[in-house]
Symmetry: C2
Subunit: 328 residues, 2 copies
Amino acid sequence: MRVSEVGEFGLIARVAARLGAPAPPAGPGDDAAVVPTPSGYVIATTDLLVEGRHFRFDWSSPYDVGRKAAAQSLADVAAMGAVPTALLVGLACPPSTPVELAEGLADGLRDECAEVGAVVVGGDTVSATEVCLAVTALGDPRGAAPLTRSGARPGESVVLAGTVGRSAAGLELLLAGVREGPLVDAHRRPTPPYGAGPVLARAGATALLDVSDGLLADLGHVAAASGVVLEVDADALRAAVPGVDVRHLLTGGEDHGLVGTLPAGVAPPSGVTVIGRVLAADPAAGGPGVRVVGGNVPPDLRGGPLRPPGLPGPTAAAPGGWDHFRAP
Amino acid sequence: MRVSEVGEFGLIARVAARLGAPAPPAGPGDDAAVVPTPSGYVIATTDLLVEGRHFRFDWSSPYDVGRKAAAQSLADVAAMGAVPTALLVGLACPPSTPVELAEGLADGLRDECAEVGAVVVGGDTVSATEVCLAVTALGDPRGAAPLTRSGARPGESVVLAGTVGRSAAGLELLLAGVREGPLVDAHRRPTPPYGAGPVLARAGATALLDVSDGLLADLGHVAAASGVVLEVDADALRAAVPGVDVRHLLTGGEDHGLVGTLPAGVAPPSGVTVIGRVLAADPAAGGPGVRVVGGNVPPDLRGGPLRPPGLPGPTAAAPGGWDHFRAP
């Protein structure tokens, strides 16, 4: 059997099964790992970015790619409610690569880290036929419990910090030949709301993740892990992120906005918007899932129960979610 | 200018200069980074392994590649005097990759981690044209100060735990068509002396690193960072690692043996052998460097002062050291 036949989430499930389940609280599929230390724990996450798949140097400068690569991993740390502290970066590239390209990447990595007070502390360089970046981010939870995907409970509100869909809208413009403008910039260099992670942790958030695969797909993971139905109000979402088509809002990843759940009665902190609510999963109605209410939502984006319930992988509730090994 | 023109160490120096120097105690070029936490620090290191360059599936099973990939990073943690605790693994591979290959890699990673009580806590999978593994290891120094490359002082002894040269001898056999035997096994699956790292830290070692580029090359880094001359006794080295040609002993990497320095009067712990001594660097004689004494050492392996002194990069003292971007 080939990797393309089981898909990204099938592959992860198979590999994770052989590795044995990590100790709680976080497991495979969460934004980042929670590694115990003598006095608490450290948050750690690794991401790979491959030229031509995750970035294109004809669309983005090496500096922008460096910033985006750092942002992706730093946002994973923030999505656990932690403060990013350090980055390790592996760079695989052909020997013919211009030195200026590596220097531009380094500048971008450094400057994105500076946004959160983190530093690049180590790395590795090797020869390869294509440019590949391996970025590992570490973070400090500052004493807060890690925010996983399994804590959402009925009665809570679904909240968003930062944006969704702008990067995907920018990608569509780039594909159409547009090279400038705020949405194109949002694709080249996302601006995750890093500070909202620790703020939401202190405010009592029960689940949190960064939207990297698309809102419906990523909320599907929360619904599965928490055993609930997440209802998104498309009108509230449109108001929170104006100027973006509802399809991009619901299926676009890579803005690395943070989406989570807050207990009833907790006012959303500054910069955080309520975009929906958590409902009990009714087994008779198909169990856990994501559904979209509000005006002018195309039928294929209205969500539904997860199929099969609780399993990772493409689901009825997650159209457009990204699978690295399947065609979109 | 191309990466091939500045070489691996030139590239690292240029990138590190742009990133700004990490806070002491460890910097670029050390085995691993030292990341402060609220109550101490965590050790962290990233390595990339690319198919066809760092491993070949016609020579090694996916299981062996997984073990070797884990060993490389776990040894870096041990070389800081710390206990490895967790691994994060990024896997880039073509969609046509057999699922069994990924599963074999996972089994190998898991079993090598089990040797030291570490676990695979997270990772990432992406599509690429070639198989690339990005392995990040974290470690706990258990209260000991990190063992960097800059602490060697004149009068100390140079000590070795584990082996050197066996992996390189095995690679030579594989290139000659031999497919079985203990040296071939040593290349396929190195067995770093993980426990010796924390043991040497407690014994008062002043510098420690794992030999991944070759003994002369890696001792050259210690000599440069510590400003000393390291004298290796080829006869003591031969006695410590019998059955291996002196060229492989002095230039072969990838056994991930640990080499370090112990203060005068400190008896080497069990499993640790004295293979040389630390001398003051005489500026009139060329300054810091590595020299090899003892019988039957070819002239090109007798070492000498570092040229240019103290700078990273190929040196007169480090023949055969591996540069990922230059021809050997």
